[in-house]
Amino acid sequence: MSFWIPLAAALAVGLPALATAWAQSRIGPAGAAALAEKPELTTTVIIMVAIPETMVVLGFVVAVLIMLRGGA
């Protein structure tokens, strides 16, 4: 397996992971502030925090496919 396939897979999951982390770093404090005033929003906030995870989840799927197609 060439050097580029694992690198591509790592980038496929790594870059969305950074994007997810950035998005969650914005949603998290806003959610915490909302919870301080309205604790009944807990579930909504948890869901909100989970929403950007779609990016890293899809990145992971793409990374797996890259590795499989690359012959890992």
């Binding site: 604790p39 909504t44 869901i47 929403i51 989840v57 899809l58 799927v61 797996v64």
Partner: protein, 626 residues
């Protein structure tokens, strides 16, 4: 499902209104609403006496709540009939005052005790030093506590005082906990000003005494403070005993008084919703359609022909105004908890609870998919269910966990997993369907296919839901569903799962349907259709989380052999499995919820329903998860 509601109107002689309200409160069936505007009907005017009564009830309720909170009493209990209001108001006010006084006393004593406790170590340190003080009756004493790291200041101070006063002073020190040092300094009266300057320059201040002992020296205040410290525990326990006794004595009255006041206030509020003429009254409201005979029977029995109950036709009310009651079969009922975390669905729309009861544990099981973890989860669920046999959110959660555990176990058998690959290695367990560790692509196809089915179901429900009120929207949803099917067929044909000749006609149909969709739903239709496809792909998280879960379990098992010591390896493996289990419960729960709330509900869910709150005797509100 959302129960069918009926809107009813009750008419009768005006003087019977209080009795009718009393009967309705006993029945607890009718969700009252202001009657439609009809000629000659007007709201009941409040008399001064009623305003006063309302004020008394509100303040009695506040007294009751304050006393209950201060005494730590239980607010829930049976109602007591025949309470006399003026006496009750006075009793509750008296109890509140007593509770406030007692609580303030306990608080004052606790604060005093905490304050004096801070001096305890200082007293013990100065006790041996103070023996020196009487010899200096004409001198001046300084009581100083040096902070940690200032201990060498004693010698420095001694050197400076020697330079200043010669041998005419005495300095004694005693170590304190936390590396502090108690210092007693005795100097002649005439040297006091210079010594104070020296202490100020060294940023050393004297021990300050509590406010009650201000103006005294430490030596003078100490005996009194020690005596007070000895008295305080007794006084405190006496005050607490009195508080407990007051709670024991007044708890039943607080419970009953609270209920009584709430019930009477509810009657007054219900009265505001009635309309009257000079001789008659009208009350309107909602009740589940199947309880109409019960209401009719109760009114007939008590009032005969005097009071009339009539049902309003559906043309006289709108679905938006009707309150919502969710009622599902016992098997599905726990999942109402998950639906209740969102605003209620509107009356006339579809209750998603049954769909959630089927798909939520299925998605969870696909993600966890391990017999070992499923057994642990089942144990947790059963334990929680036993601890909370009464209806409530904890019981619902326990039952949801059990359902999730059952699905996880079943999928665990399908994937041949017991704590990862341990079942395979130790017990020769084999995958009945496919091995998630190896078959990543089939798992991905399964996850996305399930997503397609789930989304299609959502679109169909959305079309059915919107059919009566928003025909255009219903057609749009239907068209989107058809196009989604066509896209799937085209994809399957392109990879030759379906016959390849299908590809061209299906693509043509998609291209033709697209403008049709734009005509029906507007210019946003293409964007919405693409977002629908994106939402189908979002279900690939089932595969991603499932694969991550099995990989982590396999890593945990390999850890056992990766360390030199078997014991350390097994401990690490157990810890890793524990972490994986915690992740394996949290993540699938959150992601399965997200798939429902965002992806599935987005197709049909209409929030904004009004909760059904029947007029009845007060009951404590059901507990809700945070």
């Amino acid at each position: 499902m959302i129960l069918a509601m009926a809107r009813v109107r009750i008419l009768g002689p005006r003087e019977r209104l209080p009795a009718v309200l009393e009967q309705l409160q006993d029945l607890g069936l009718m969700h009252l609403a202001a009657p439609h505007d009809l000629p000659l009907l007007e709201p009941v005017t409040r008399s001064t006496r009623e305003e006063r009564l309302r004020h008394h009830l509100s303040s009695a309720l506040e007294d009751c709540a304050t006393a209950t909170r201060l005494l730590g009493a239980t607010a829930v209990g049976p109602a007591a009939p025949g309470m006399v209001l003026p006496a009750l108001v006075h009793q509750l006010r008296r109890i509140r005052r007593q509770a406030e006084q007692l609580v303030a006393r306990v608080q004052r004593l606790e604060e005093e005790q905490a304050l004096l406790a801070r001096y305890e170590a200082v007293f013990h340190a100065f006790e041996p030093l103070l023996a020196t003080q009487p010899r200096w009756a004409s001198g001046r004493a300084y009581h100083v506590v040096l902070r940690a790291g200032q201990r060498e200041s004693v010698e420095k101070l001694r050197a400076e005082l020697t330079a200043l006063l010669g041998p005419a002073f005495e300095i004694r020190s005693h170590p304190l906990p936390a590396e502090e040092t108690a210092v007693l300094l005795l100097v002649p009266e005439h040297a006091a000003a210079r010594v104070e300057q020296l202490l100020a320059a060294g940023r050393v201040s004297e021990v300050s005494l509590p406010a009650g002992f201000a103006g005294q020296t430490l030596a003078q205040a100490m005996p009194a403070m020690l005596e007070r410290m000895r008295q305080l525990p007794g006084e405190l326990s006496r005050a607490r005993r009195e508080q407990a006794e007051l709670r024991r004595r007044t708890e039943p009255l607080l419970r009953q008084g609270s209920r009584h006041c709430r019930d009477r206030l509810a009657v007054l509020e219900a009265r505001d919703l009635s309309r009257v003429t000079t001789h008659a009254f009208v009350l309107e409201g909602w009740l589940p359609a199947d309880t109409r005979p019960k209401l009719r029977l109760a009114l007939d029995r008590r009032f005969g022909a005097e009071v009339v109950l009539e049902e309003l036709g559906q043309d006289e009310w709108t679905a938006e105004d009707a309150p919502v009651v969710l009622r599902n079969p016992r098997l599905f009922r726990p999942f109402e908890l998950l639906v209740s975390l969102l605003p209620l669905p509107r009356y006339g729309s579809i209750d998603p609870t049954p769909f959630m009861a089927v798909f939520f544990p299925m998605f969870f099981g696909l993600m966890m998919g391990d017999v070992g973890y499923a057994l642990v989860l089942l144990g947790g669920g059963v334990l929680l269910r036993r601890r909370h046999p009464e209806a409530g959110w904890q019981r619902s959660l326990a039952e949801i966990l059990v359902a999730c555990a059952v699905f996880s176990g079943l999928f665990g058998l399908c994937f041949g997993e017991l704590f990862g690959d341990l079942g395979r290695r130790w017990f020769g367990l084999h995958a009945l369907w496919f091995d998630r560790e190896e078959a990543v692509v089939p798992f991905l196809i399964l996850a996305v296919s399930l997503g397609a089915v789930h989304m299609l179901l959502g679109l169909v429900i959305g079309a059915v839901n919107a059919y009566h009120a928003h025909r255009r929207q219903a057609i749009g949803r239907g068209l989107t569903a058809i196009m989604l099917v066509l896209v799937i067929v085209a994809l399957l044909a392109s990879v030759e799962v379906l016959p390849r000749p299908l590809l061209t006609p299906v693509t043509i149909v998609i291209l033709v349907s697209f403008p049709l969709l734009v005509v029906v739903e507007g210019i946003v239709a293409p964007v919405e259709f693409l977002s629908t496809l994106g939402r189908v792909l979002s279900y690939s998280r089932i595969m991603a989380l499932g694969t991550a879960s099995v990989m982590l379990a396999v890593v945990a098992n390999r850890m056992a052999g990766a360390f030199g010591s078997v014991l350390i390896g097994v401990l690490f493996a157990l810890l890793f499995h524990l972490v994986n289990f915690a992740l394996g419960v949290m993540s699938p729960m959150i992601h399965a919820l997200r798939l429902h709330y965002v992806e599935f509900f987005g197709n049909f869910y209409s929030p904004g329903g009004v909760a059904y709150r029947p007029f009845g005797h007060w009951t404590p509100p059901p507990s809700r998860p945070a």
